[in-house]
């Protein structure tokens, strides 16, 4: 026991290994966290970063076996700590902020009760002092009108406020160390920037921070020290500027290269092979118009059961030109998804209409619309939800080929070709999508969309559920396909980096309206609307990274 070594040393881990049976999920991890320091733990899904962070608060399930050469928190050896020992630490000395704030709050309790829980569990103070501490913590994180609004339940708050409240609940008992597991994922980019600012403030007040994230850019904006994890191992670690500025490991380099915000526009983000797809060029010839999809004055309101009306889309007009990729950017609740559904003819607009190659589209009755549907296809964020859960890839592709009027005997062959052109092996034909990885599923979704030889593709956040490296491959695939077949693509995303990389033109949507649209270069260089400016200023900058970006 070396109790009085260094009072600023909060956590000192050496050779941490976590295994499930014979499998080692986390292997030989070492790092230290000091007061006022932020350590970033970076990795994709399955890298073991969450397991590592949970080990620091003793919350990994009992079936997982942990071992370490050194595992010290606040100068005390915790290797043999039992549940009761851990419990005394939780909330009081180590705070924990979990991934999604919506899930991390008990939806049946109000925010005040939830923030107070640490004090209740440890029986700190009396009623009045607890109340004062809760309000204090809420004020500290910038939660407005804490007395009144903390009586709301978490799901009644906006995403940003909810995240603030969650942080307040983690720091209410003034812990020395704060673990934040993906605290900014799923937040809009401008909100994300403010949460990072808040955490940085706590750090400068002397709190130690373990910041877990898949997003290298966000981590670089706050962490002093970075640990890059891949499949349970540390591939590289060191001061942030060193690791990002001069990455030694191939995986780190790949992660940096895969970030669309950094790469030159239109360049390759990954190094996967891209097979030819020319077989699936649309065979329809049309010369009448250069506009693939044209939306005019779209408006849509939803009526809630209690009779209140919410206008989700108003006065939306745009043209998707033949052969271009048009980006549509906006935060959550901006009305993007409703625009997608209207363009796909799945929801009828209250006002205005959409024309497909100059012909009526949304105005048609469904019976007349169905035969035209092969021309315009959808790729959604969650391909698993978009597939019949009982169907194999083969059946899914067969159905799509049938829509594309491919005769029965040719379908098997074409299904294989489709898989080939999205970079999948034909063995996957007889698999169920739910038994595939997220990247594979999204490839199948693309293959299915191509099967009808469409002219227009609507992509609704197609990469936002994917890891950075997979995201890079899918983006490369999409732009490759677009160039090979000359598709017109409407690309919806909340990620400005992705849009900038892929699109020629961009529209920015806020509260159901398009507030700005134009050439990507122009909008990014000289944004005219305040909201666009806010979004652009919030894109995390890679501090200390090599300046090879234009």
């Amino acid at each position: 026991m070396n109790m009085q070594t260094d009072p600023d040393m909060l956590a000192s881990i050496e050779g941490l290994t976590i295994s499930l049976g014979q499998t080692r999920l986390v292997q030989n991890i070492s790092f230290t966290i000091r007061r006022g320091q932020c350590v970033g733990l970076v990795g994709e899904s399955g890298s073991g970063k969450s397991l590592t962070s949970r080990a620091l608060i003793g919350l990994n399930e009992a079936v997982l076996v942990q071992s370490a050469r050194r595992f010290e928190l606040f100068g005390e050896d915790r290797r043999t700590a039992r549940e009761a020992d851990w419990r005394l630490l939780r909330g009081t000395r180590v705070g924990y902020v979990l991934q999604d704030a919506l899930g991390a709050f008990d939806p049946l309790k109000d925010v005040f009760t939830e923030v107070r829980e640490t004090l209740d569990a440890h029986r700190q103070g009396d009623r009045t002092s607890r109340r004062a501490m809760v309000l204090d913590a809420l004020t500290k994180v910038g939660f407005p009108e804490p007395e009144m609004r903390s009586r709301q339940r978490s799901w009644e708050l906006s995403g940003g406020l909810r995240q603030r409240a969650l942080i307040a609940s983690a720091i209410v008992a003034a812990p020395d160390l704060l673990i934040a597991d993906e605290p900014t994922t799923a937040l809009d980019v401008n909100i994300q920037a403010r949460i990072v600012q808040l955490l940085a403030g706590l750090k400068s007040d002397g709190m130690g921070l373990l910041f877990v994230s898949h997003d290298l850019a966000v981590v670089s904006s706050i962490a002093d020290y970075v640990v890059v994890m891949h499949e349970g191992r540390v591939v590289e670690q060191g001061p942030t500027a060193e690791v990002l500025g001069d990455p030694k490991d191939d995986y780190t380099r790949m992660l940096i290269a895969a970030m669309p915000a950094r790469a030159p526009r239109g360049s390759r983000l990954s190094s996967v092979e891209l097979p030819p797809v020319s077989r699936f060029v649309s065979n329809r010839t049309e010369t009448s118009t250069d506009v693939a999809l044209s939306a005019r004055d779209l408006g849509k309101s939803y009526v809630y059961p209690d009779g209140s009306r919410v206008r989700v889309v108003s006065d939306v007009s745009f043209d998707l030109r033949r052969g271009e990729i048009l980006g549509l950017v906006g935060g959550s609740g901006s009305g993007k998804s409703t625009v997608v559904k209207i363009c796909m003819g799945l929801v009828d607009p209250d006002e205005g209409d959409v024309a497909l190659f100059g012909q009526p589209w949304t105005r048609l009755p469904e019976r007349a619309r169905t035969p035209l549907r092969p021309r315009i296809q959808l790729i959604s964020q969650d391909p698993l939800g978009a597939f019949d859960p009982r169907w194999t890839v083969r059946r899914l592709l067969h159905e799509a080929l049938e829509i594309g009027a491919v005769p029965l005997r040719e379908r098997d062959g074409q299904a294989e070709q489709l898989l080939h052109s999205v970079g999948l092996k034909p063995e996957l034909l007889d698999r169920l999508p739910r038994k595939m990885s997220g990247g594979q599923r999204q490839r199948v979704a693309i293959a299915r969309a191509l099967a009808t030889r469409p002219d227009v593709l609507v992509c609704d956040e197609p990469v936002s559920a994917l890891d950075v490296s997979v995201q890079a491959q899918i983006l490369d695939l999409l732009s490759h396909i677009q160039r090979e077949i000359g598709l017109s693509i409407l690309f919806i995303s909340h990620d400005l980096g992705v849009v900038r990389h892929l699109c020629q033109r961009v529209m920015v949507m806020q509260k159901g309206e398009i507030v700005e649209q134009g050439e990507v270069e122009q909008v990014f260089a000289q944004p005219r609307h305040d909201y666009t400016r806010d979004l652009l200023a919030s894109i995390p900058q890679m501090s200390g990274a090599r300046a090879d970006v234009a």
């Binding site: 009081t92 991390a104 049946l108 829980e117 569990a121 609940s169």
Partner: protein
């Protein structure tokens, strides 16, 4: 705001009760008239075998307007039901409403005792086994299957044989005191508790994986304290939602258990009425339990909404 909600709830409840009462009386009327035998029996056959004298028969025919056209009978019947008049029992010269009112007490006692017992048992079992290893879970999953499959009349017989005849712990019949309530309530509670556990345990197992549960523990809550304070409320919601089926189970169960244990109650007179074809009494019980169902179900929906207001937003 609150006031308008309460008003609208009472209003919608009233509307539903009216609709169900109308539908229930219509169905019983149709069944009464569409089925061959009974209606004609009353008019023509000798009912003395059921203890109904010829004079009483004439009274019945007059009271129900059996000598008038069907549509008049229908209006008369439905109108009477809405006025709270469920008719006169054939067998006992008493209004049906009065007979039921006299018997509802012991039946309610039985219902509340058994549902309370079932809930307490189920929550205890679910909470204790939520963290148990595969052995405990395997054992309880076998028990669950057995417990929900046991027919309640047989379970009652077994309890009677062992605890009452065999060991003499409980009285075999009657309704005197709390002691006589134990066996009948247990007979109904055991299968119900089995069903509750089947729903509760997987729900609870999901909830303890939920981020809010892990967060609660990260704030320093003890495992079981977090289960009771957070997870249990969530896991109980589906049980409340399904309360409709338990109501049906309790009513059916009352018929069986009351007869088996010789307890007074609505279930006992129901069976009697079915056997002697006392149509007004059977119809009255059916109508009343349909109305009770609607009231209970609507109130439970309201309760769920109060516990979890998110539902309204969906």
């Amino acid at each position: 705001m609150l006031r308008t909600i309460r008003e609208s709830f009472l209003f919608s409840l009233f509307l539903k009760v009216v609709i169900v009462t109308w539908a229930a009386s219509t169905i019983t009327f149709i069944v009464m008239h569409a089925t061959p035998g009974t209606y004609a029996d009353i008019l023509t056959s000798d009912l003395s075998q059921y203890g109904i004298s010829p004079e009483r028969r004439q009274e019945i025919i007059a009271a129900y307007g059996f000598d008038r056209p069907v549509w008049q009978q229908y209006l008369l019947y439905v109108g009477n039901v809405f006025r709270g008049d469920l008719g006169m029992s054939y067998a006992q010269s008493q209004p049906v409403g009065q007979i039921i009112a006299g018997q509802i007490g012991p039946t309610m006692e039985l219902a509340f005792a058994s549902i309370g017992l079932a809930l307490v048992t189920a929550v205890a079992v679910a909470v204790v086994t939520v963290r148990a290893g595969w052995f405990g879970q395997g054992l309880t999953s076998v028990l669950e299957v057995v417990v929900v499959s046991v027919p309640s009349f047989w379970l009652g017989l077994v309890l009677l044989t062992t605890l009452s005849f065999g060991l003499g712990w409980f009285p075999a019949s009657g309704s005197q005191g709390l002691w006589s309530l134990v066996l009948p309530a247990a007979t109904l509670a055991i299968p119900m508790a089995g069903t509750f556990v089947q729903i509760l345990r997987p729900e609870l197992q999901n909830e303890v994986q939920a981020p809010y549960f892990i967060t609660a523990r990260a704030r320093g809550r003890r495992y079981y304290s977090a289960v009771l304070r957070h997870a249990l409320t969530h896991a109980m919601l589906p049980i409340l939602t399904l309360s409709a089926s338990y109501f049906a189970f309790l009513v059916s169960g009352a018929v069986i258990v009351e007869n088996l244990f010789g307890r007074p109650g609505v279930g006992r007179i129901m069976l009697n009425a079915v056997v002697i074809k006392d149509v007004p009494l059977v119809s009255g019980i059916v109508i009343l339990s349909a109305v009770a169902f609607v009231v209970i179900n609507q109130s439970v929906d309201r309760l769920i909404l109060w516990i979890d207001p998110r539902i309204e937003k969906r």
